[in-house]
């Protein structure tokens, strides 16, 4: 019985490997899978061959630094009303303190883009969904604003738009009565760029954030994940998050 189970697993692994090889070959001669993912033509749908992820090194996060948060607000036109409890926050700076030793550290917290997102599980209309490439989004055309996803999210990553919004940016439509959260700057990612927070962190020379394809062994994020220990927040929930942390 044990032998059979072992054989099955091996066979599955072999078949899985073979399928990947075929997919790689079928794309185009001389074109690598990850290259295709980076420069996906505008008329081609996203593929599950890619899984976008982010690695945040909290050791490089200075206390009080809010460059990523500011970049996000600027990129998506997130303006508040001076009410932190209800204003939209797609990414926020969280201070952690070890109760025993008093050691404190800062980390940015955003939608973790889970492989098994609880927000998608509970959404009654199908507005919360996960794209093939692992980015979790809200289809605001379908969202009825029930906020069930906000209750389901273990990371408090989602916000509800309470007030009428004017002057939205063309690439970031937002409106009253819908739930929203970090999109991994999907409109940038689709055109081969990195999210605004990552770009800002790099431009300010903090280099605490890396964005890339976790399915591609040659990507910087995959190399770092392989080389260094990293953690998922609330790994016990087995959501397989797309955002990983070093230093927590």
């Amino acid at each position: 019985m044990t032998d059979n189970a072992h054989t099955d697993t091996t066979r599955r692994r072999f078949l899985g490997g073979a399928a990947t090889a075929v997919a790689g070959l079928a794309l185009a001669p001389g074109v690598l899978l990850h290259k295709v993912a980076q420069a996906r033509p505008a008329d081609e749908p996203v593929s599950s061959a890619v899984r976008w992820g982010m690695l945040i090194d909290t050791n490089k996060c200075a206390k009080g630094c809010s460059d990523c948060v500011n970049a996000c607000a600027k990129e998506h036109g997130l303006t508040g009303h001076g009410r932190p409890q209800t204003d939209a926050q797609w990414i926020r700076s969280v201070d952690l303190r070890d109760k025993q030793t008093g050691y404190t550290q800062t980390l940015p917290l955003l939608c973790q883009h889970c492989e098994h997102p609880p927000c998608v599980d509970v959404c009654p209309t199908g507005a919360s969904f996960k794209r093939a490439d692992g980015i979790v989004l809200v289809d605001k055309h379908i969202c009825i604003g029930c906020r069930y996803c906000m209750m389901a999210c273990p990371y408090k990553a989602r916000s509800f738009v309470h007030e009428t919004i004017d002057d939205q940016l063309p690439h970031s439509p937002r409106g009253k009565g819908t739930v929203e959260s970090c999109t991994f700057c999907v409109e940038r990612v689709d055109t081969g760029r990195t999210p605004a927070c990552v770009e800002a962190c790099k431009a300010e020379n903090h280099n605490a954030m890396i964005f890339g394809d976790m399915n591609d062994p040659a990507s910087e994020i995959s190399k770092q994940l392989k080389k260094y220990n990293s953690r998922q927040i609330r790994a016990d929930l087995e959501l397989n998050t797309g955002v990983r942390y070093r230093g927590i």
Binding site: A62, K156, L169, P170
Partner: protein, 170 residues
């Protein structure tokens, strides 16, 4: 016989209507939509991304189709994207009419047709240049780039920190 008379009467009425409607339009009658001119043409021979008559009847289908493809599949072709409609049909001048105005390209006709749309509750109703909030560019960021990279210690040692502290639901 009376039937024929009624029919011919209707026909002449129709003929009068057909002749009169364009005449009214020429006279600038306020009943008909005064649709603003687009900023540019797609090509020499064609004004819009599809033939104008087709766009008048089916633009909502094109936009709806593109909406779902972009949202769920990440397809970002420009031909039927709402953003490109706005870029071409709405002036980027700061005082350009907003979506609520009957002078706005979309609303000019929708008011006439008594159609209420909620696209612009969320979507930008004018080109990005007019909104005054341009997307962050790498160039603008490098100006503020700092050179003093903060020293960072290699991990371990702090694995006891409760990662969930502060972000758990109570």
């Amino acid at each position: 016989m009376p039937n024929v008379m009624i029919k011919s009467g209707l026909l002449s009425l129709l003929a009068v209507a057909v002749i009169w409607v364009p005449a009214l339009a020429r006279a600038g009658d306020s009943l008909l939509p005064d649709v603003p001119e687009a900023q540019r043409r797609v090509s020499e021979t064609q004004g819009c991304v599809e033939p104008t008559a087709d766009m008048r009847r089916n633009h909502m289908k094109y936009i709806l189709h593109q909406r779902d493809e972009t949202m769920h599949l990440g397809i970002r072709t420009k031909q039927h994207s709402l953003e490109e409609c706005i870029n071409c049909h709405v002036s980027s001048a700061r005082d350009a009419p907003r979506a609520s105005s009957e002078q706005h390209f979309c609303n000019s006709c929708h008011t006439y047709a008594a159609v209420n749309i909620d696209c612009f509750e969320c979507h930008a109703d004018r080109p990005v240049a007019a909104s005054g909030k341009l997307s962050m560019t790498p160039a603008s960021l490098t100006v503020h780039a700092q050179t003093d990279e903060k020293p960072h210690a290699m991990l371990p040692g702090n694995n006891q920190v409760m990662a969930t502290e502060g972000i758990n639901h109570d």
